[in-house]
Amino acid sequence: MYKRVAVTGMGIVNCLGNSVPEVLTALREGRSGVEIVEEYRALGFRSALAGTLKNYQPPVVDRVYLRQMGDNGLLATAATFEALRDAQLADELVQHPRTGMIIADSGTYKETYQLCHQKKDLGKKLTGLALPRAMASTVSANLSVLLKTQGQCMTVSAACAGSAFAIFHSAWAIRLGLQDRMITGGVHWGSWEFDCLFDSLRVFSRREDSPKEASRPFDADRDGLVPSTAAGMVVLEDWDLAVERGAHIHGELIGVATNSDGREMTTPSGEGSARCMRLALEDARIAPENIEYVNAHATGTKLGDEIEARAIGEIFGQHPYVTSTKSGTGHEVSAGGCTELIYTLLMMNHGFIAPTLNLHRIDEECAMIRHVPREAIPADFDIGMSNSFGFGGVNAVLIVKRVDA
C-alpha cells in the first residue's frame, strides 16, 4: 500500500494576482490578466499580447542568494514563500533530508541569451555567476540553497506540462516513502527571448485591439494562445504526517499520470492525452463519472482545443463541467500544471466553477463537452481533474479530491 499525498500549501504569483487570495477573487470575478507588451511591439512581434504581472514586488532576498538567481528563480521564490507560510511548515521540517524540491522551469532563455550575447556579440566579460543563473537546474538549486532543504532536488522540463510532471514526480517520491514532503510546482518567466520562438510559430492570438478578449479557448472565433508569466507552488506531504502535525489539508492528490504521444513534436495526437486521462482515472481508482470538473489544457489554438474536447467528450461525455482558466490567465507554460491544480482546488473548496471567458460562440468541434461560458457558477464538487499537455507530445493529468469527501 502506498502513502497518500496531501496538498498542504499553495502559493501563486501571476497576471491575476500576487497571492492565492487575490487570484481567487479574480477567478470568481472572471477577470483577465492579458495586456499589450510594448517591448514585443517594438521588436516587431506578430502579436504583442501577454499575461503580465501587476504590482509585483519581488521578495526580499539576501544579495548573496539574489545574485545567483534569475528572474524565474525569484518569481518561484515568491510563490514558494506563500506556499510555505500557508503550509505552516516549521523550519526544521523544511531544512530536512526528507524534504525535497522538484520544480519545473520553461527554460533559462533570458539568462542564456545574456550569456551568449554578452560574450559573443558585445565582447563583454561574463561574471562568475552567469552559470548558476543560466543552468537548467537554476530554480531548484537556488531555492534549495535559500531554504536549506536537504532532500531530492531537481528542476524538471516537460514543455508546457512541466509543473504537472514535477507534481507527478513529487507525488511518487511521497507515495513510495522516498521523501516525506515535497515543495513542488513550476515557473515561467515570460520574455522576448522565449516568446519570439512561439511568435514565429504563429500560434499567438493577434486580437490586439481587445487584449482581454484575446484568449478564448473553445470559442469558434479563437485565433491562438496568449503567453503569460506565472509561478505556482504547492507543498505536498505524506498524508499521515500532515494529519499528525495538524496541517490544514487543501485536498488529496489521488490520481497522477504522465505519458507521451511518441509521434510528433508540435502536433498533439489526441490518443496520448486520452490515454493519459484514463491512466489518471485508473491511478485514482475512480470511474469517469466520479470526475465533476475538468480544468482543460485548452490554450485557444484551433487544433489543440478540438483534440482535447473530443478526448474529454469521449471519456466523460457531458457529465463534468469543463473550463479553461487560460481564458483569463493566458498560457502559463511550465507553471500552468501547478497553477491550474491550485485553481481547481480553490474552486473545489470555495464552491464555484471559474468560467471559460470570452466563450461567446462554442466551436461546433468542441461542443461535445459541458462548457461554463463567460461567468462563474456556484458548484459543489468533490473531485476535479487538471490536464496539461506540451510540445513533444508530453501529457500529464492530476486528480484531486476534497478532504471531507
Binding site: 500500500m1 542568494y65 533530508p97 527554460g107 532563455y109 542564456t112 541569451y113 550569456l115 551568449c116 550575447h117 560574450k119 566579460k125 561574463l126 561574471t127 562568475g128 552559470l131 548558476p132 543560466a134 543552468m135 537548467a136 537546474s137 538549486a141 534549495s144 540553497v145 536549506k148 532543504t149 536537504q150 532532500g151 531530492q152 532536488c153 531537481m154 528542476t155 524538471v156 522540463s157 516537460a158 514543455a159 514526480h169 507515495r175 516513502g177 527571448e193 519570439c196 520562438l197 514565429s200 499520470a257 504522465t258 505519458n259 507521451s260 504521444d261 511518441g262 513534436m265 490515454r275 491512466l279 485508473e282 491511478d283 485514482a284 481508482r285 510540445f391 513533444g392 507530445g393 508530453v394
Partner: protein
C-alpha cells in the same frame, strides 16, 4: 505497481533492475565499441581524444558529426538532441528492444541536460536582428527547450511512456538514471531509456570557467591531458560534449523477452547541500554514498569499495569528492575518474560514468585515472587507480557532485550475466 494500479502490492525493495543497453557519444568515440577500444588501446599520453577537436582551448565539438547514418528527422534537431538520439538508438539496439512486441506506453524516456541547446540562442538572436525570426520555424522552440532532447528521443524511437528531463547540475546524468531506476524498481514503468546529453558550449561557458579559475591555465590546445583529477597540479577542467544513455528494465521483463543483462543497479540516492558556495557538496555526497551502500548491502551486492568519481580536475570540487568518499567508505576505497579521458561535459559526465562503469564491470578492468600523477594533499587517504587494473569486486559506485547537487548510484555484475544466462 504500474501507473493506474496504485493498490498493487509491492515490497519496499521493489523489483530488480538490470541494465540491458548502453549508448555513448563522447570525445573518445561515438559508439560503445569505439570507446571500449580506445580505453584498451595504448593511446598517446598527451592525446586522449580521437574524435574531439579542441576548440578555443577546450574539448568540445565532436569531429565527423553528424554521422552519415543519422536519419533526416534527427538532423533537424539541435546537436544536443542528436547526441542523445544516437546514444539512445545504440542503447536500444544493444538491448534488442523490439518495439513491435512491447507496450511502448510502458517505456519512459528521461534525458537531462544542463544547458541544452545553448548555441541555438545565438542563431535565434541573429535571426531576430536580421528580421528573419520566422526562419526559426516550428523547430526553434523544440531545439531550445530543456526537454527537447528527451521528447526528440521519444518521438524518434516511438516511445509513449512518461517523457521528461531532470536537471540537477553536474549530477544530472546520474539523477535521470537514478530516477529511471526507481521508476522501474517500483513498477511505474517497465523500461526506461535514460541518461543525459550536453552540447558544445565551450565558446560561451569556457570563459566563465576561466573566470571561476576552473579551467587549466595555459592549456595546450592539442593536449587534452591537462585535466588532472585529484592531482596536486590540477588546474581545472576542459569542457566537452556528448551523451550517455542506458536502457534499464526489470530483471523479469528482460528475462521474458530474452535480453541479456549487462549489469544490475543495486542502489541510488540523491541529495543537496544547501550552501551558498557552489563547490560545497561533500556532506550531501557522503550521505548519498552511505544510503547507497545500505541499499547495495540489502540487495546482496556486498560492500562497495570501487568508485568512479565525478572529480574533473577542479581545485575545490575534487577535494570535496575525495573527502566524501573517504568519510563514507574509508581509506581502502579504490577510486578512479574519467575526466582525464573525456573532459567535463556538465550533465552528461555522470551518465558517461554509468556507461563506463558497466563496461568496466563487464571487462573486469578498472580504467586508470588519466592525468593523475601526484596525489594532491587535499585528496590523500584513498587508493587511486593510476593505471588500468583488474576489478577486484563485482560492484562499482558512481558518484557525482557539484553546484550543491550530489548523487550516488551503485551497479553490480548481474547474477544472470555472471551465470551466463539471461534474466
Amino acid at each position: 505497481m504500474r501507473q493506474g494500479q496504485l493498490q498493487a502490492v509491492m515490497p519496499p525493495a521493489g523489483r530488480r533492475v538490470v541494465m540491458t543497453g548502453l549508448g555513448i557519444v563522447c570525445p573518445i568515440g561515438t559508439s560503445l565499441e569505439a570507446v571500449g577500444r580506445h580505453l584498451q588501446s595504448d593511446a598517446p599520453a598527451d592525446r586522449a581524444g580521437v574524435t574531439a577537436r579542441p576548440v578555443d582551448g577546450f574539448l568540445g565539438e565532436l569531429t565527423a558529426w553528424p554521422p552519415d547514418d543519422l536519419q533526416r528527422a534527427a538532423r533537424l534537431c539541435a546537436p544536443v538532441a542528436q547526441y542523445a538520439i544516437v546514444a539512445a538508438t545504440h542503447a536500444c539496439q544493444q538491448a534488442q528492444l523490439n518495439l513491435a512486441g512491447l507496450d511502448t506506453s510502458r517505456i519512459a524516456v528521461l534525458v537531462g541536460s544542463m544547458l541544452g541547446g545553448l548555441p541555438e540562442m545565438v542563431r535565434t538572436q541573429r535571426l531576430l536582428d536580421q528580421g528573419k525570426l520566422s526562419r526559426a520555424g516550428g523547430m526553434g522552440t523544440t531545439k531550445m527547450m530543456n526537454s527537447g532532447s528527451a521528447v526528440n528521443v521519444a518521438a524518434q524511437l516511438r516511445l509513449r511512456g512518461p517523457v521528461m528531463s531532470n536537471s540537477s547540475g553536474f549530477a544530472t546524468g546520474l539523477d535521470n538514471i537514478g530516477c529511471g531506476y526507481e521508476w522501474v524498481r517500483d513498477g511505474v514503468v517497465d523500461v526506461v531509456v535514460c541518461g543525459a546529453t550536453e552540447e558544445h558550449c565551450a565558446p560561451f561557458l569556457g570563459r566563465q570557467f576561466s573566470s571561476w579559475e576552473l579551467s587549466p591555465i595555459g592549456v595546450d590546445p592539442d593536449c587534452e591531458v591537462s585535466v588532472r583529477p585529484f592531482d596536486a597540479h590540477r588546474e581545472g577542467s576542459l569542457l566537452s560534449a556528448g551523451s550517455g544513455i542506458v536502457v534499464l528494465e526489470s530483471a523479469d521483463h528482460a528475462q521474458r523477452r530474452g535480453a541479456t543483462p549487462l549489469a544490475e543497479v543495486c542502489g541510488y540516492a540523491s541529495g543537496f547541500e544547501a550552501s551558498a558556495a557552489p563547490d560545497q557538496f561533500a556532506t550531501a555526497l557522503t550521505r548519498t554514498i552511505e544510503q547507497v551502500c545500505g541499499q547495495a548491502a540489502a540487495a546482496g551486492a556486498g560492500s562497495l569499495t570501487q568508485v568512479i568519481s565525478g572529480a574533473a580536475g577542479f581545485r575545490q570540487a575534487d577535494a570535496q569528492h575525495a573527502l566524501a568518499i573517504r568519510d563514507a567508505l574509508g581509506t581502502t576505497a579504490l577510486v578512479t575518474a574519467s575526466a582525464g579521458w573525456l573532459g567535463h561535459s556538465l550533465a552528461a559526465s555522470s551518465a558517461w560514468n554509468v556507461v563506463l562503469a558497466s563496461l568496466m564491470l563487464s571487462q573486469g578492468v578498472l580504467m586508470g585515472c588519466r592525468g593523475l600523477q601526484e596525489i594532491a594533499p587535499d585528496c590523500q587517504g584513498l587508493r587511486y587507480v593510476q593505471d588500468s587494473r583488474v576489478a577486484s569486486d563485482p560492484a562499482l559506485l558512481v558518484t557525482a557532485g557539484g553546484l550543491g547537487f550530489a548523487s550516488s548510484l551503485a551497479i553490480c555484475r548481474s547474477t544472470a550475466a555472471k551465470n551466463g544466462s539471461p534474466g
